[in-house]
Structures are given as structure tokens and as C-alpha cells.
């Protein structure tokens, strides 16, 4: 096994159950600083459920999740972004009626301060915040090559562009850990390649760890430093991409039918 630096996020023995269905069954793993960690598994393996635990949308019935050594399980969902965890959603969850600019600006909510009175009266504090949001939104749009659609309503954009908008919105909070749920879904071969390049760039420029849920094995195996494989809510295996690709149980889970 290659050497991994200290973990920034630790998932410990997490259990989640939905009225009889065990979605996660004692899953444990850690993600290291600046690492791209691939989380793979057949449909229904529990990958999105794990993301929803990290976002505090689901509460595990057992286990713990530690961010820099502190449990996040007492925090409300809206505190997660402030703590440095950003995310994108499996089928894109943009603010459909808002412009691309406003979508990215909302991404900066956790990074900025303000209050209703100051905002409505355009006090200097709010005007400074607004100027900062404007500049950084435009920089992110530049980086993700969506500057030309900043004033377009998000719902009217093609799927691939929406995904880039969603990534820009997630990056707007300068996350230390970025959760990406199937970013390659619905993209063509060339777009997948560009996405991989972009993720590597994001990792170095934003100094962020990336937790990547993906069915596109080519992408996962080419950019992940470390891979965790789930099946039926349980961790099957964990290791380098090469180790996982050669792992008999992983091969079986993917080829051996199941409920996929």
C-alpha cells in the first residue's frame, strides 16, 4: 500500500437503515489531505446515502463521522458548508429559476457574512460583500468556462453545462473536502476526460480533498489515489486503484449480477 498522509475526514462504523432496508452497514474509512478518494459500488450500494450523512441530511443510527477529529453529528446541515465540506448532487440540484451567477453566488453564502437590515439598506458592509461575491463568482465562472452563460437561467442550460455550474457553486465555498456524486454521469468521453483534468486542477489549486462517487471506472482508476468499494451497504475492499481492480470480490460484485 502507498503511504497516505493523515486523514482529514473519518467515517467510523456508520449504519443507516430505512424502514427495513439497511443502506449502510458499519462502513469505515478515512480520506487524507489533498487526496482524491474514489467511492465505488453497484447501484444501491449506499454511496449517495453516505454523502447524505456527510451533508447531515441523514443521521446514522450508529457510528460517527469526524472532521479534523471533531464529530459532525451534532451539527445542523447548514453548518457543514461552513465547516469546509462542499458537494455536488447525483442528478444536479441547481436553483433552477436562478441565473448561473446567482447559483454560484449562493455557493458563497457560507463564506460570507451579512444580515437582513444591512442587506436591504445596502450598508457598506453588504456592498463590500456583494463586490467580493461578484468578483469571485466571475473568477470561478472563468475557471469552469461558463462565463458566457452567467446571466442565463440555470434550468435552461444543457446538462453538461449545468454540471459545471454545480461544480462552480460547490467550489465557491472554498471547501477543504469536496463531495462529488457521479460527476461523469451523462457526459461523453471527451467531457469525462476534461472533467478528470479539471478535478486534478481543483485539487491542487483549491488544496481540497475530493471524495468521488463514480460508476465510470476509467475516470476513477485514472485519477483516484485511493479507492473504497461498497456493496449492499458494506465495505468490500479498500486500496489503490490497481489493488481494487484486481480484487476478486469487487470484480464479482460488478460482474456477478446482483440488483444492479
Amino acid at each position: 500500500m502507498t503511504h497516505r498522509s493523515e486523514t482529514v475526514l473519518d467515517v467510523q462504523d456508520v449504519h443507516v437503515e430505512f424502514s427495513g432496508i439497511i443502506a449502510l452497514d458499519g462502513v469505515s474509512f478515512g480520506i487524507a489531505q489533498d487526496e482524491i478518494l474514489g467511492l465505488i459500488g453497484p447501484n444501491g450500494a449506499g454511496k449517495t446515502t453516505l454523502f447524505n450523512c456527510l451533508s447531515r441530511l441523514y443521521h446514522p443510527s450508529r457510528g460517527d463521522i469526524l472532521l479534523g477529529g471533531t464529530s459532525i453529528l451534532q451539527w445542523p446541515a447548514h453548518q457543514i458548508a461552513r465547516a469546509g465540506i462542499g458537494r455536488t448532487f447525483q442528478n444536479v440540484a441547481l436553483f433552477g429559476d436562478l441565473t448561473v451567477r446567482d447559483n454560484i453566488s449562493v455557493g458563497m453564502h457560507a463564506l460570507t457574512r451579512g444580515n437582513l437590515v444591512s442587506d436591504a439598506l445596502r450598508l457598506p458592509m453588504s456592498r463590500r460583500t456583494e463586490a467580493r461575491i461578484r468578483t469571485e463568482t466571475e473568477e470561478l465562472a472563468e475557471l469552469l468556462e461558463i462565463a458566457d452563460v452567467l446571466e442565463v437561467t440555470a434550468a435552461n442550460l444543457p446538462f453538461g453545462t449545468q454540471k459545471r455550474v454545480e461544480l462552480a457553486r460547490a467550489l465557491a465555498s472554498k471547501p477543504r473536502i469536496l463531495l462529488m456524486d457521479e460527476p461523469a454521469g451523462g457526459l461523453n468521453q471527451e467531457e469525462v476526460f476534461l472533467l478528470g483534468e479539471l478535478m486534478k486542477r481543483v485539487r491542487t489549486e483549491f488544496k481540497t480533498s475530493i471524495l468521488l462517487v463514480e460508476h465510470h471506472m476509467g475516470l476513477v482508476m485514472s485519477i483516484a489515489d485511493h479507492v473504497v468499494a461498497l456493496n449492499f451497504g458494506k465495505k468490500l475492499a479498500e486500496g489503490t486503484p490497481a489493488e481494487i481492480q484486481a480484487h476478486p470480490q469487487v470484480i464479482e460484485a460488478y460482474l456477478g449480477g446482483g440488483d444492479a
Partner: protein
């Protein structure tokens, strides 16, 4: 099974359509200036009774704007804004009768009371969305007159008798009628409230509300405290409705229980829909509809005025499901295209 991760929005991969066509911007400025000029000079050409009608129109526009700010930004529907309007009206009337407070200063006090009431009501309402929230606010509207008539409050509210208020005189020896003065006061308050709402919508706070309307889960993942912003915007909306109520007490010089039934709440809601949800200037159009159309309907047929009003409302909803906003968007695109 619903998966929280799969909160997909509409996917319409059609051609990209700009949301705020910059080309229409100059048209908007021209329309705004013309409208302001008309509003400022109208009293000079109108009889006092019509000036009074215009004041009522502006007061309704402020109350409808309050509702529009709530529904248009956060998506919360209220059929109970008559309650906050009543709070403002009684606050102003009681302050004017019991203390020597200047009538203009009753407005911020009314706003504060309205905000607190709205914020407090917004908390239990957090659990409710859509139809359930509409019902809960409606219950508030239905209960309001009975609460005002309660024995414990009667000493203050005047119960079924209502409260009379002195008519403010035009100050500084201004050479205008008292009615015109009230009109200008209302217009000034209206412009301030409008600017307040506009800045709010285009700020970090406003975007947080718009975001939680479109996708509450994604909004909270971006750090938006959904519960807090929902109650805050409810409070702001109630505060503005309360200001409208206070202005009505001052303009009509009489506050009566019967003015604050659920009928008022429904009228405000109708006004919002006719003006176009989420488009603040539409509040003026919506208010014109609910203030003037009943008069016109009366003129057409006394006995059937309700039917005429209903018919016109049906017509508007069929032809313009997005209200006046639809006409504005269309005009803006027509005239804006260089």
C-alpha cells in the same frame, strides 16, 4: 423511493435564454421615470375623492408587495396577511389615541410589531409547506377579527365600535390639500418599501431565500439556514403589511374590525397573482385591480358586480397566467430589442 441525493431540477436542454435581458434595461428605466412622474403629478389633476382612492390604491400596493416579497422569494404562500395589516392599523390608531406620537412615527412602530408577529408565526409555520401553510395562514386570517373583539382587548381596540383617528394636516404650510398630503406620504413610504424589497432581493439574504424556494436541500448544503431565512422573510413581509395597515388607519381615520376579515387576505392574494408573483412592480397593477375593478364592476351592474369582478378575474388568469409580469416581460423584450 425518494432519494435526497436525486433532487433533479427540470432539464430543458433547449436554447439558452437570458433571465434578465440586459437589452430591456433602458426600457425599464424609461417606464419607471414615466410612472413616477404620473404618480407625482396625478393629484394636481384629480378631485380630492379620487386622490383618496389613489392613496388606498398605493396602500394596497404596499400590502401586496409585502405578500409578493414573501411568496416571490421564499415560495411561502400566505392567506393571512390581513392579520398583519390589522396589527399595523391598530398599532397606529392606538398610539395616536393614547400617546402624542406623531403619525409618521407610528409607521416604524407598526413595522416592528408586524415583524415580531410575523417572525413568531413563521416558526410553527416552518413545518408546513404549500397547501398546509396556506391553510394555517388562512386560519390566522379567520381568527383575527374574533381576537380583536375579545373582551380583554376591547378597551384598546374599541371592539366592534372601532377607533377614530384625527386627520393629519398638510405640514409646513404646504399649498396642497390634506388628501394630497396623505397621498404623497403614502407614495414616499411606498417608494422606500419598494427600494427596500428590491435591494433585499438582490442581496445575499434575498438570494438565500430564492435558493431555498428552488431547492431547500441544495440551499442548506450551501450553508443557508433554511428555517432562519424562511422566518426572517416572513417577518419582513409581515412588517411591510403592517406598515400598509398603519397607513390605512391614518388615511381612513377609522379602524374597524370588519375591514380585517379574511376577505382582505384573499384580496391581497388575488392582487399578488394578478400583478405577477415575484415581480414587485406588479403589486401596483394587482392593487389597481382589487381597488378599482370592483368600482368599475359596480358601474356596469350593481346587482352583478361580484359576478363581473369574478369574470374579469377569470379572464386575466386565462389570458395572463403570470399576471402583469407577463405583459412587462413581453414589452421589455419588444422595445428592448434595439
Amino acid at each position: 423511493m425518494m432519494d435526497i441525493g436525486n433532487t433533479s431540477t427540470r432539464t430543458d436542454p433547449s436554447a439558452a435564454i437570458p433571465a434578465r435581458p440586459g437589452i430591456g434595461a433602458r426600457f425599464n428605466v424609461i417606464v419607471t421615470i414615466v410612472l413616477l412622474l404620473v404618480l407625482v403629478f396625478a393629484p394636481a389633476f384629480a378631485k380630492n375623492f379620487f386622490v383618496f382612492q389613489m392613496t388606498l390604491w398605493l396602500i394596497y400596493a404596499i400590502a401586496i408587495l409585502a405578500l409578493n416579497l414573501l411568496t416571490g422569494s421564499s415560495g411561502q404562500v400566505s392567506l393571512g396577511h390581513s392579520a398583519f395589516y390589522a396589527i399595523g392599523a391598530y398599532t397606529a390608531a392606538i398610539l395616536l389615541n393614547e400617546t402624542g406620537l406623531n403619525y409618521v412615527l407610528t409607521l416604524p412602530v407598526a413595522a416592528l410589531f408586524g415583524f415580531v408577529a410575523g417572525f413568531l408565526f413563521g416558526f410553527p409555520a416552518l413545518r408546513l409547506t404549500g397547501v398546509a401553510l396556506a391553510m394555517a395562514t388562512f386560519a390566522l386570517a379567520v381568527a383575527t377579527p374574533a381576537i380583536i373583539k375579545l373582551h380583554v382587548f376591547e378597551e384598546w381596540t374599541g371592539g366592534v365600535q372601532g377607533l377614530f383617528v384625527d386627520k393629519p394636516r398638510a405640514p409646513f404650510g404646504l399649498p396642497i390639500s390634506d388628501d394630497a398630503w396623505l397621498y404623497y406620504l403614502t407614495l414616499a413610504v411606498g417608494v422606500l418599501v419598494f427600494l427596500f424589497g428590491l435591494s433585499l432581493l438582490n442581496s445575499r439574504t434575498g438570494r438565500a431565500c430564492l435558493a431555498l424556494r428552488d431547492n431547500p436541500i441544495a440551499a442548506s448544503a450551501m450553508g443557508v439556514n433554511v428555517a432562519l431565512y424562511k422566518t426572517l422573510i416572513f417577518g419582513v413581509s409581515a412588517a411591510i403589511a403592517s406598515i400598509a395597515g398603519a397607513l390605512s388607519a391614518i388615511a381612513i381615520q377609522f379602524v374597524a374590525v370588519d375591514s380585517f376579515t379574511f376577505h382582505l387576505a384573499i384580496l391581497l392574494f388575488v392582487g399578488m397573482v394578478v400583478g405577477g408573483i415575484g415581480w414587485l412592480p406588479g403589486s401596483l397593477v394587482g392593487a389597481a385591480f382589487v381597488v378599482f375593478v370592483p368600482n368599475i364592476a359596480d358601474g356596469i351592474s350593481q346587482g352583478l358586480s361580484g359576478a363581473v369582478f369574478g369574470g374579469l378575474l377569470l379572464l386575466v388568469i386565462f389570458v395572463l397566467p403570470n399576471g402583469a409580469k407577463q405583459i412587462a416581460t413581453w414589452l421589455s423584450a419588444q422595445f428592448g430589442a434595439k
